[in-house]
């Protein structure tokens, strides 16, 4: 609708859109530029500015040099922690969610709608209601302050989302397909493996992207259940900016922020379409 020639109204639209785009990009641009300025340069001017001399060394320092709390190994160990939590938890929760979604949508069993209903309540229950119980559980099974503990939490809690995503996708698969396979004598896993999984790649990509982004970006559990060297990178960033024992190194800190944000940003840029689908699927519960 509207006219499609270059009337003044079109120019206005482009102008407004460009202003918005600039506002959304500005923080990223500022941080990228800062990550290439020396700490001294930032201290003398402000956080916003063009690099006078390119300080590529900030990235090396951020990656493996500067100190968080008492340890001086950069954010590399924390990035590794995040990866060691995020990757397994994403795989487990997605696979288990796919099986569960398949079971509740196509392989109806006694009590399935009840249990499905309860599991999806997990989408709404605030994390604060689960913090203390998780503390007790993790302590009792000896997983407090371990990456395994975080994997367990994210797997179990992720099930709410992954089951919902997959179930909503699988209900659209014609039941006749399943019925015919069952008459041929195919069992639960065979049907899943042969019929369902080959149809699932779109929803699995959506689920993996969603889970990866959420677990990578998660902070509350990381900061509550792990300390020091076991923390994921989100918690380490907070520890870094709260490191009162040091004169701020904004150049290096900016580089650290960029590195920490990079995995999810890359996933977003590469799988944008699926990312957006996850957003809308997650919203329309």
């Amino acid at each position: 609708m509207g006219d499609r020639t270059f009337a003044p109204s079109r120019i206005l639209i482009y102008l407004v859109v460009s202003l918005f785009a600039a506002a959304y990009l500005a923080p990223l641009v500022v941080v990228v530029l800062n990550s290439l300025r020396t700490n001294e340069e930032i201290a003398q001017a402000s956080m916003i500015g063009w690099p006078q001399q390119w300080a590529w060394g900030n990235y090396a320092t951020a990656w493996s040099g500067f100190c968080v709390a008492e340890t001086c190994a950069g954010i590399r160990p924390y990035m590794l922690n995040s990866a060691l939590v995020t990757i397994p938890a994403t795989i487990f929760s997605t696979l288990l969610g796919a099986v569960a979604g398949y079971a509740v949508s196509l392989w109806r069993f006694r009590g399935d709608s009840w249990i499905y209903g309860i599991v999806t309540l997990g989408l709404f229950l605030p994390q604060q209601m689960r913090l203390l119980p998780w503390t007790i559980v993790l302590r009792d099974i000896g997983l407090i302050n371990t990456l395994t503990g975080l994997v367990l939490i994210h797997t179990i809690q992720g099930l709410s989302f992954t089951t919902l995503f997959c179930r909503n996708y699988y209900v659209a698969i014609p039941h006749e397909l399943i019925r015919a396979a069952r008459i041929d004598g195919a069992g639960f896993f065979r049907i899943f493996w042969r019929i369902i999984l080959p149809l699932s790649s779109p929803i699995l990509i959506v689920t993996v992207i969603w889970q990866f982004t959420h677990i990578w970006n998660e902070f509350l559990y990381g900061v509550t259940f792990t300390t020091g060297q076991q923390q994921p990178v989100t918690a380490a960033l907070i520890a870094l900016s709260a490191a009162i024992a040091d004169i701020p190194q904004h150049g290096v800190q900016s580089a650290a922020v960029i590195i920490a944000a990079l995995p999810t940003l890359l996933i977003y840029l590469l799988g944008g379409r699926y990312f957006v689908r996850g957003l809308t699927a997650g919203a329309v519960k």
Binding site: M1, R10, I13, Y14, V17, F20, A21, Y24, L25, L28, A45, S46, I48, V99, A100, A103, S105, L106, W107, R108, S113, I118, V119, L121, G122, L125, P126, Q127, Q128, M129, R130, L131, L132, P133, I156, V171, H175, R179, R182, G187, F188, F189, W216, E218, F219, L220, T234, L237, A242, A260, A261, T264, L265, Y268, L269, G272, F275, L279, T280, A283
Partner: protein
């Protein structure tokens, strides 16, 4: 959820021998689902129970009635957190709705570079709240951020010091939250705009309605369901906002930007007052239910109307 067609595939009562053979599938189905359901129920009940006990550093049994709730609700921290939540929730949801809708309408004008623009408006959603909060804490810090830049440029009377102004600090969280997640509203609205029936629009145009009138009278009214979804999702975020505040203001200056989630964490893990922390968590849940229950009821009636109407 109950699907009439699928009841035909419900397996009958399996024979005993069949049960053993099908054990793996039962395990695969039931163990994860039961673990998930069981943790949700037992964790909630346990936290609710703790909120009625005199637990401080460690969980203990005992019954103190509503004492923890009274203590939390009488505390300045909770008062401030609750007032902030009302302000932050309202401002953030309204402004992000407006921003998201504006962006969606602009993008809906068949403009060049729509894909690039959409990518730009949505990328903040891929970034963690910790990163968002940290970056905005630099930009909004008067000593090193925007204000300092403007001063260095020569306009020395310029003031933009909300981050250190206890009355305005909550707005810095609104700004960062809108930057982070108005793209979400945009994505949903855009999808809604694109699904409006082209015939209705054409009919309106034939009637002589200009673009503004068409939007206002014809297109926007169809977006109500999406608007409600966006509001509920954003409110849910606002109620449990933690990371963003932790990274941006950490509840300060002073305790001016406390929010319920921070109070809960603080009571549980910093002040060693588990009972009160649990009570605050339950209060958070109640606030959330006040938003979600009407939404669930609305959804229920909508669906009933759709199937019966």
């Amino acid at each position: 959820m109950t699907d009439v067609a699928s009841t035909a595939t419900r397996p009958g009562r399996p024979a005993i021998s069949g049960v053993v053979g099908r054990l793996p599938e039962y395990l695969m189905i039931w163990v994860p689902l039961l673990l998930s359901a069981a943790h949700l129920i037992s964790f909630s009940l346990w936290t609710i129970w703790i909120s009625f006990t005199p637990s401080t550093l460690v969980p203990v049994s005992g019954w103190v009635g509503l004492r923890n709730y009274n203590a939390v609700m009488a505390s300045r921290n909770w008062h401030i957190a609750f007032d902030n939540l009302l302000l932050f929730g309202t401002a953030f949801v309204l402004l992000s709705l407006i921003t998201g809708l504006a962006l969606a309408i602009l993008l809906d004008q068949r403009i060049r570079g729509e894909n690039v623009l959409r990518t730009i408006f949505l990328y903040p959603l891929a970034v963690s709240f910790v990163v968002t909060g940290t970056v905005w804490s630099w930009l909004l810090n008067p000593g090193i951020g925007i204000q300092k830049l403007v001063h260095d440029l020569g306009w020395t009377s310029f003031r933009f010091d909300w981050l250190v102004d206890r009355d305005m600090a909550i707005w810095t969280i609104v700004i960062a939250a809108i930057w982070q997640s108005s793209g979400f509203a945009m994505a949903l609205f855009l999808a809604g705009l694109r699904s409006v029936d082209a015939d209705i629009i054409k009919a309106a145009q034939i009637d002589g309605a200009g673009p503004v009138r068409t939007y206002w009278r014809v297109i926007l009214p169809t977006l109500w369901p999406i608007t409600i979804t966006v509001v509920v999702v954003q409110l849910q975020f606002a109620i449990s906002a933690f990371d963003l505040v932790r990274a941006l203001t950490n509840g300060g200056p002073g305790i001016a930007t406390q929010l319920p989630a921070l109070v809960v964490y603080d009571l549980m893990f910093q002040r060693g007052q588990l009972g009160r922390g649990a009570a605050a968590a339950v209060l958070m849940l109640l606030i959330l239910l006040a938003v979600l229950l009407p939404y669930a009821a609305w959804r229920y009636f909508q669906r009933r109307r759709a199937t019966h109407g």
